[in-house]
Symmetry: D2
Subunit: 341 residues, 4 copies
């Protein structure tokens, strides 16, 4: 941590800061420049409350030197984490595709989608039983009935299940059915939920909030890691910008940025990320080309009758096309697409 | 709802849309332009899934005509809602100031702050017992102990208590202590929490998420209203933008926009909204000048020792100055500042 | 400037950076922490190319300590700059209102608007002769004919003229007619235009680009100041965000931020800043309450027939109401509204 | 264009709107819904000033049905435009790479870069002679001397030249030297510059402003097309968001969106788009996978000594790696990389 003093700071102001740093059990290091005096702080700055120092008289700025996260950093763990989800390895050489409907609507709908995505080669089945909706008047999901339908689909197809959990009080129940528990974008900073999931013996899919910085995203992962759950998969799903031609702006830049700064796997959700079915194929190809470890894709047998997110769902036919495209890109970047036999 | 057909849509495509609308129990209304055919939908469009229609062949765009919220709209209720919080009326002629520390840290800290803000004229006491923090290593609040300290401060000062609730499972507990239950920005779309609060006989302070549109903000209020709780106070607390000189961008434009579109009261949180103590006074004046019904302000007896948010906390002395400034602006806009005697 | 080395940097990497700094004629200052080595640079960092240093092997980050602007900073000039525009002082105790139509459409239109805004008390007349329009098919302004009409209005009313200049080659011509030359938001970083204006003996109204940071805004002012023109008035006119209920997001936070960091006057344009006539009055009050030195307001005798920006234009009657409101707020913040007798 | 009346609009208000539409030479079409009356406008809405209609009494909203651009739309021209730049075809089957230094610094620097990018297979040479810089104290380019050095490099290597023009008064001069004239992001809405370029017999590379919507971007292209220059290449170069780990947010979503809506070719600039040399390779692969017609890349023989943009420049060695990667991706999407023999 570096403390920049204002140009008008007196000797006394500087002394005051030095004393505060020592009181915190850390070592200050003074450097007088031509326009500013600067004080370096030696020791683990993560333990200090930056804001307290910034309020001492005539402090101009307090600049952190270290990243706020530790366990999530590549500096802490240089090798890639590989997360096992019902036997499927995410973060290794193989590119993994999760697919299924936005919401579980009925047994028929889910079963037919599950068969379709399996036959196209998807390795995990997604489907929402608890749905966080903007409108109180919209379909809110089938709840536990939805979970039971998902379990049936797993039995029938052998595909592991990815589904969302919305509150800490529901973690136990959802974990009975799910192979990978999803934290939705709106819950990325639901700290009670993160703490519950950090005690769980199942992997977590952590979606980026649509206005989260990379630091904030990795700090939410840090909640899971520091609580004891190291099986964390990150997911980019679009950020909110001024842009008008897509519902969100899928931010693929975060994929290589995560790869540089963290050891965690990251997948991409181009369905929510763009909100437009006609952008999903090109952005899926781009995601894998940028280095993503997989995709999560909304597929519905009849998008024009979907209870939710029809706009951004692929038909089974288009999904097969996506699998073919993504297979080619995977090979072009020296990886291969994991395909269910 | 208006459906715009692509220029290449055939007679059959149009017929297809007409039939679907009728199947939904609504009445279509056809209009052929020079470049596009347009179909109006007569009936309550809120009941239709917009996305399903947009996927019919050669539909270019589906444009909603009505706002997605109903109970929150000024069209539904033309007169201002006035919300009673422990005897203090929010949304009427008087401007109401809520103040107190970011976190309850100790009985001493809270009591001295409570006395200070009361003597300066604040009418409600804020303080966090449950704190949603970006970092798992940061202070997370005193929990129920914090609530008990808040209750003591109410006894001592007579000020009503404003405090955050973070999960539906905690609503009952927090409601035992609080006079106004705050939904934090990160929880604005926590639908389970909103549903729990909608059944409560206490008022709710709903903070805007830092990337929420006005529609989304009012839809979250609609969860509360449609569930049966009409005592809703909105709160603007800054949005996330590219701007670098304030932690968030306090968006005062939403204040007059809410006044045009909704009957609900709206207050402003310039502490979180700017994240800089040196911007709080001018932005507090501006908020009241823009038509806000009140403010919520972070005050700490020693900001440079605060466990959280010291950067954006006022000292008791600066808070008195704020009350004086805001009193003058209130009169300039034909209102008056509510002051605790 | 502070250089943070990666944790894996060797003694040699550090030595390499020290040598580079000395080669640049500056003095390095080494500090070894527990996790990172940090090198302070003593001397005027504005003369160094930050990017070059950041590319030396195993440099993690290069952090500037000083602001990039100098002449525009309050540190350089502690007292407020007061800019004289045709005898009207901007930046002093008095709040100054500039008003007029978006575009000069005809002599009749301009004359009647000029009389109306003058009789309401405005002290400067705005009107566009050169119009930068998003669409090539929209009205692009009357050009020099518009300037001539503006000059006539000045003769008739005595009001000084504010009008936009779009290119360096037109500076001379526009300066013949205008009392205050406006740089539009789209041209805030048109460096050739800024350089031409920096040689001019007339004041400049510099509008903030809708995605400019405060640093960038003040750096554009620095172009004018460093070229020799110290008569610069800043103008906030709304930034681009995800918000949907106003065309832009008027960012009033920049007003007190500029007052802290710079000596330059700043006014606010709530017409462009909100893009909605029904938000202009409350946001005008808020702007003055936040500390703005004035306003620039679009007024049109018949907004529903305006060639441009009718949506955000006030009628003369509403403008009179604005003047009354703003007068009250000015007094509430200890200033007074400058009114043309 | 569709006009939505407020629910409280009277028969008279509706009549008023109908008359205004007819006065404008267009045909209204009335539709009375259960909650709103809606009026369709039949005829070319691009000729109407939307804002005027929105101001008629009790009009709630005026919604455009058509896109604001015409000549740039795929509806107007279904087949892809292919733009010839010094014999290199952009927008066809082949992927085209333009490369070179940010600024022309000296003959030596440019020549060695030109040879390096040519030997790696680049087909066009970029280099800035006129540089728009944020700071007045930064290197502003060599001007015409830079153009002359570019011309020499063309002679020596046979590579066509891409360089920026900043003002309409300089178009003629720059066009003497350049094969492709670049409009920088800051000038995307410099309408005088666009008009000058629209009369030119040379192709134009139009960079997206960092806060431009797709509509605005295509409207700037429309200035060029409607003025008579149909040789327009679009370029995405990053938008401004809240994101902190890249200087800009490269928005690849616009690539497939442009392909749907327009016939114009689009290339991507990952150097400016990310601002970080370590993100350029993955984002280059992603750009081509998303469907871009080419890339423009900053290459410098010694990035740590570059006068500008060193941070985001590749070394010749890394650029060769990029060419190899991009070649593989091109083949994976059924295209091939154009390579200079």
């Amino acid at each position: 941590m570096i403390i920049v003093m204002e140009s008008r700071a007196t000797q006394e102001d500087v002394q005051n800061v030095l004393e505060r740093i020592e009181k915190l059990g850390l070592k200050p290091h003074l450097s007088r420049g031509t326009e500013r005096t600067i004080i370096g702080v030696i020791g683990d700055e993560r333990l200090i409350n930056r804001e307290q120092l910034s309020l001492l008289p005539h402090v101009e700025n307090v600049i952190p030197v270290l990243k706020p996260y530790k366990l999530a950093s590549r500096e802490f763990q240089p090798a890639n984490s590989i997360v096992d989800v019902a036997g499927v390895k995410v973060g290794g050489e193989e590119v993994v595709i999760m697919a299924g409907p936005c919401s579980v609507e009925s047994e028929d709908q889910l079963m037919s989608t599950a068969q379709a995505v399996k036959s196209a080669g998807a390795t995990l089945l997604r489907g929402g039983a608890y749905k966080p909706r903007t409108s109180p008047y919209a379909f809110q999901g089938l709840g536990e009935d939805g979970l039971k339908i998902l379990a049936k689909a797993r039995e029938a197809t052998g595909l592991g299940i990815v589904t969302e959990v919305m509150e800490s009080s529901e973690v136990e129940l959802v974990a009975e059915y799910a192979d990978l528990l999803q934290v939705g974008a709106r819950n990325m900073q639901n700290t009670k939920l993160l703490r519950s999931l950090s005690k769980l013996a199942k992997p977590v899919l952590l979606k980026r909030n649509f206005s989260a910085t990379l630091n904030e995203f990795l700090m939410s992962a840090e909640y899971l890691l520091s609580g004891g759950n190291s099986r964390v998969i990150l997911c980019e799903r679009g950020i909110r910008t001024f842009v008008e031609y897509s519902r969100n702006t899928l931010d693929l830049n975060i994929v290589p940025a995560v790869k540089l700064l963290s050891h965690l796997p990251i997948i991409v959700d181009p369905s929510h990320g763009t909100g437009r079915h006609d952008l999903i194929l090109p952005m899926s190809r781009a995601a894998i080309a940028a280095g993503a470890d997989g995709l999560i894709i909304e597929v519905h047998p009849r998008p024009d009758e979907a209870y939710s997110d029809g706009d951004q769902s692929l038909t089974p036919a288009t999904f097969r096309e996506l699998m073919s495209d993504v297979g080619k890109i995977s090979r072009a970047v020296g990886r291969r697409l994991k395909v269910t036999p």
